[in-house]
């Protein structure tokens, strides 16, 4: 069983960090994981993506070719990285993203990820962690226990409560779907 995930957005939204966290949580669950990324020459802005493959077996090719799950936080990222060729893929976009109704995607969710981070938690910077809570709440691809432990381990000290709130807000969004 191999899961291929693509997390995309704007450079600086922390999607590469989110990809690393997801992969490390998968390792903690006893699985194999590889994380890759692609970004432009800019330090901020521009479409950026992190890709994660989680598998019970050895992962040969490290890049995602047929994603099972795509996250897009911005319109630019959705235009570039939402691949409609696999209509069974789960596609999660921020509610600010408009997608043509003709994509044929069967599992498309528009969710207020950035708005939740900005208004419920009060910090837009945790949108990546809200998104992680949402993805794991919907798919259980990693255990919530190891997800939280990895978030705490990977992110700066002093942000534990903020990130726990963000994860919980993501789980709550998942329950509403």
């Amino acid at each position: 069983m191999q899961l291929e995930l693509r997390l995309s957005g704007s450079g600086g939204q922390g999607l590469i960090t989110a990809g690393i966290i997801l992969a490390e949580a998968a390792l903690a669950d006893g699985k194999n994981a590889v994380q890759t990324q692609s970004y432009g020459p800019e330090a901020r802005g521009g479409a950026s993506k992190a890709e994660v493959i989680i598998s019970d077996e050895i992962i040969d090719f490290p890049k995602v070719t047929r994603p099972n799950l795509i996250l897009a936080l911005t319109q630019d990222a959705a235009a570039k990285y939402v691949d409609a060729s696999n209509s069974d893929a789960m596609v999660i976009v921020d509610e600010s993203v408009e997608l043509s109704p003709e994509t044929g995607l069967k599992k498309l969710f528009r969710v207020p990820i950035i708005d939740t981070a900005r208004h419920e938690i009060g910090r837009e910077i945790v949108a990546n962690i809200v998104a992680l809570g949402l993805i794991v709440g919907l798919t259980q691809i990693v255990s919530q226990e190891n997800l939280e432990a990895t978030v705490i381990k990977r992110l700066p000290r002093g942000t534990e409560d903020l990130n726990r709130m963000a994860l919980q807000a993501g789980y709550d969004l998942a329950k509403q779907i």
Binding site: I20, A23, E24, L27, N32, A33, V34, Q35, T36, Q37, S38, Y39, G40, P41, I59, D60, F61, P62, K63, T65
Partner: protein
């Protein structure tokens, strides 16, 4: 200890375990993490990190540090590798142990800074002017990056040659699980130094030894280092007889000791009718393709050079005499393909799938091409 690291991070872990105590360079994508982590870690082990004004001084300072007895490394990419070429030749002629990492990106020129390429494989062999010995190793995973970095230092120390660790944006930036061993499990080779009181010929080889013993500059042995042809004393010599002896000795390093240096992986090649040949990051794609093709009933194996220079010529030649064809795949317009054609020498067709636009060739593309050419 289990860690989740980028190839670039694993390179620094390997370098530190091999004994690197000096790093000088100039940051450039996609190699920058190597400089960044070296800057953080070297001071903690009593080492030194210097960010120089450019790539040329980056390698020059590393050469200087190595002459004083420190194990030194510099890392770069793309145009930075071009800038280092002159001093690679200096290190080869002056026999200065040194590790140069090139995390390949799309070229030529500034090219594609954040995308992978493999267009520097011939530059790694012949980028500096004049005949010269060089060793070039190319890893295909985070774990192998760690071990090949250690091997690069060991070979540099043993043969007193610059060793190029040729990675690419794929292996440099990808993160994977790595089990970092205890230092006690790792074999480390340190250069031989002269004994105090000996008459010291800095470029004379002691009987039964591979290369001249190397005194640490500043340790009391006075000697001269130059990029001019030199005799055993290290001072310049215009004698053609001396130049012949020196060049013969230098060029023999990677020939006489090739069995100690050459490394490759042969997967499912015993019964294979066809070979896919790939190296570095591209072999990940090739490995996946070979597994699928075998499931589909094709008798195909993977041949992966781990040392690109010297190239695993004898092993490939033996296989080239048995198979129906070889499909070479690399992220360039056919550089290693030339080497494979030379070795196959008309005994089997050499097919090719390459590109140089910053995109990785996927297993699907490789499978499709294979099924077309291996009909």
């Amino acid at each position: 200890m289990i860690k989740f690291l980028q190839g670039n991070e694993a390179c620094v872990e390997g370098a530190l375990m091999a004994g690197m105590r000096f790093y000088s360079g100039y940051p450039i994508t996609p190699s920058t993490e190597i400089a960044e982590l070296s800057a953080e870690r070297l001071p903690k082990v009593g080492g030194k990190f210097i960010q120089m004004e450019d790539e040329i001084s980056g390698i020059a300072a590393a050469i200087g540090a190595s002459l004083t007895g420190k194990k030194a490394m510099t890392a770069t990419s793309g145009p930075g590798f071009s800038l280092k070429q002159e001093n690679i030749g200096y290190a080869a002629l002056a026999e200065v142990p040194l590790v140069i990492v090139n995390v390949q990106r799309g070229g030529p020129s500034t090219g594609l800074p954040t995308s992978p390429g493999q267009g520097d494989v011939m530059q790694a062999r012949w980028g500096t002017h004049g005949d010269h010995p060089i060793i070039c190793l190319t890893p295909d995973s985070v774990t192998e990056t760690f071990y090949l970095t250690i091997r690069a230092f060991n070979l540099a120390e043993k043969y007193r040659v610059p060793v190029i660790l040729l990675t690419d944006e794929i292996t440099g930036h990808m993160r994977e699980k790595i089990d970092i061993p205890d230092p006690s499990e790792i074999e480390i080779y340190n250069r031989k130094r002269p004994e105090t009181g000996d008459v010291y010929h800095p470029y004379g080889v002691e009987p039964g030894e591979i290369v001249p013993r190397m005194a640490d500059f500043g340790s009391g042995f006075r000697y001269h280092v130059t990029g001019l042809m030199h005799d055993e004393t290290g001072f310049p010599s215009n004698s053609t007889e001396n130049a012949r002896k020196l060049m013969d000795r230098l060029m023999a390093k990677t020939v006489t000791y090739r069995d100690d240096i050459i490394d490759y992986e042969a997967l499912y090649t015993e019964d294979a009718d066809w070979l896919i040949l790939a190296y570095g990051g591209m072999s990940r794609s090739a490995r996946a393709a070979v597994k699928v093709l075998r499931q589909k009933g094709h008798s195909v194996g993977l041949f992966r050079p781990i040392s690109l220079w010297p190239f695993p010529e004898e092993a490939l030649s033996a296989l080239a005499g048995k198979v129906k064809g070889i499909l070479v795949t690399e992220l360039n317009y056919g550089q290693i393909k030339l080497e494979v054609e030379r070795i196959a020498c008309g005994r089997c067709p050499v097919e090719f799938l390459g590109r140089g636009n910053g995109e990785v060739i996927t297993p699907e593309m490789l499978i499709e091409t294979f099924e077309e050419v291996a009909k």
